[in-house]
């Protein structure tokens, strides 16, 4: 997996998504040492994600609108920010992204990355 790059399009390879032990260890450490912050962000991510799932299926199915589960966080953040900056074309996405703060985009990225691991 490309940990640092921000590819323009999502990875199609589900098997490579966020499966490194190092990443997982970090995640557990976050849970253990900062439980309150984790809980808040998770709830925020879950709520914000409910706006996305009207169009992007949680199952990962793709029937005309791209699936967004399981994306590496960096990639998710980069793509949403490019819609927010209106650098990408779709008006629905531009409008939704326009009101997302950096913190909210991060919460969404974490939520959808996690959904890809289920």
């Amino acid at each position: 997996m490309n940990e640092t790059g921000a590819p323009a399009e999502p990875s199609k390879d589900r098997a490579t998504r966020g499966s490194s032990r190092w990443r997982f260890g970090l995640c557990v450490a976050t849970v253990l040492f900062a439980p309150q912050a984790y809980a808040d962000n998770k709830a925020l991510g879950q709520y914000l994600a409910s706006e996305c799932t009207a169009c992007h299926q949680l199952s990962g199915a793709s029937t005309g609108i791209p699936p967004i589960i399981g994306w590496p966080k960096d990639q998710f953040v980069a793509v949403v920010k490019s819609y927010r900056a209106k650098e990408r074309d779709n008006e629905v996405m531009q409008t939704i992204a326009a009101r997302l703060t950096d913190e909210e985009i991060a919460a969404l990225a974490a939520y959808f990355e996690g959904e890809g691991k289920k």
Partner: protein, 425 residues
Amino acid sequence: MNQFTRRKFLQTSAAVAGASAFGTAAVLGQAKPKVVVIGGGAGGVTAAKYIARDSKGAIDVTLVEPLKRYQTCFHSNLYLGGFRSYDSITHGYEKVTSAYGVKMNHQWAKAIDRDKKEVVLADGSRLSYDRLVIAPGIALKYDSVPGWGKEHEVAMPHAWQPGEQTQILKKRLDEVPDGGLIVMIAPPNPYRCPPGPYERVSMMAHALKKAGKNKSKIIVVDPKENFSKQGLFQEGWEKYYKGMVEWIGPKVHDGLKSVDPKTNTVVTGFETYKAALVNVIPAQTAGTIALDAKLANASGFCQIDPTNMRSAVDPNIYVLGDACIAGDMPKSAFSANSQAKVAALMIRGELTKSDTFPARYANTCWSLIETDDTVKVGGRYEAKDGKIAAVETFISKTGESAELRKATQVENMGWYSAISADMFA
């Protein structure tokens, strides 16, 4: 940490989550809080699913919906046009029960006893609630079109509520002879699905053209001076259905005087039309149960608190979708689904003390004009100045490229799959 496998982590997390849910109920010192949801459409089933799913069993959720198989009103125009099968707009509630634990009660909700916090069902039994969500959709004002009434809805179908009516209209459309006239009586504001009548006109014209009935014509008798996506639809009608579609506003027709279902006649101040098919889309109010429970104001729709979708009349009741007054949001499935997620969040917050966040709403309405030519309108909304106010909106433009219109149709079909899954899967 090396021994701490992912499976183990998930098991531990589940145990913590379970203990937490149990702890919440124990703190409240009572049986599980109860939520009853009336109406299994885009607002109701979404609210039921999200409350049940995200409370992880801490809230008892019952969805009251008489139908076991539900046809969506959205995309029913595509069925009329031959772009979708009836099966593809039909859904069931099995997964909502099996995956999320929503209890289905397939009865008609007859009344709401607000003092006792109970819903009265058709068989006389009662369901008690701590919070009630109503998403009853619309009721048709059968007396709003002179000469027309409920007894005439087969002769002159409305097809503005999903199911059998949709099939009747499709059958009647297919029977229109070449040269036959279709008259649509369009509804006054506010009504379900603002671009819907005009997408329907497009789909009817497509079906006529495809069947080689090029001499047939559709006349829209509209009580409004203008309508949703007007420039886009009129551009499409001119491009694809030249001479087949005529829209006339009140300045031209001088008012709808009467219809006669026996002779398929429509009389306006301007002209009398003898039609092969008359599609009457009457004026609308919130679903009857909302009116009976006195949750609606003089407009016939229910005022809500825009920060949480709570009824302005009863703090224990939330009103979603077409039945509510949603400010700048149109009455659409997308809107109802969006509102349901806000209500679900707030209800969980009230009943289980879970986190809540400021309400945010969104809507997009796609309309198919002809094969691979779809337009859209939408926006995002927030609570402001006592209503749900548009913050940013967008609409397709006339003269867009064929490539973009085709991509918009792909998006339209993708949205249908996704919102159906969001509601029923």
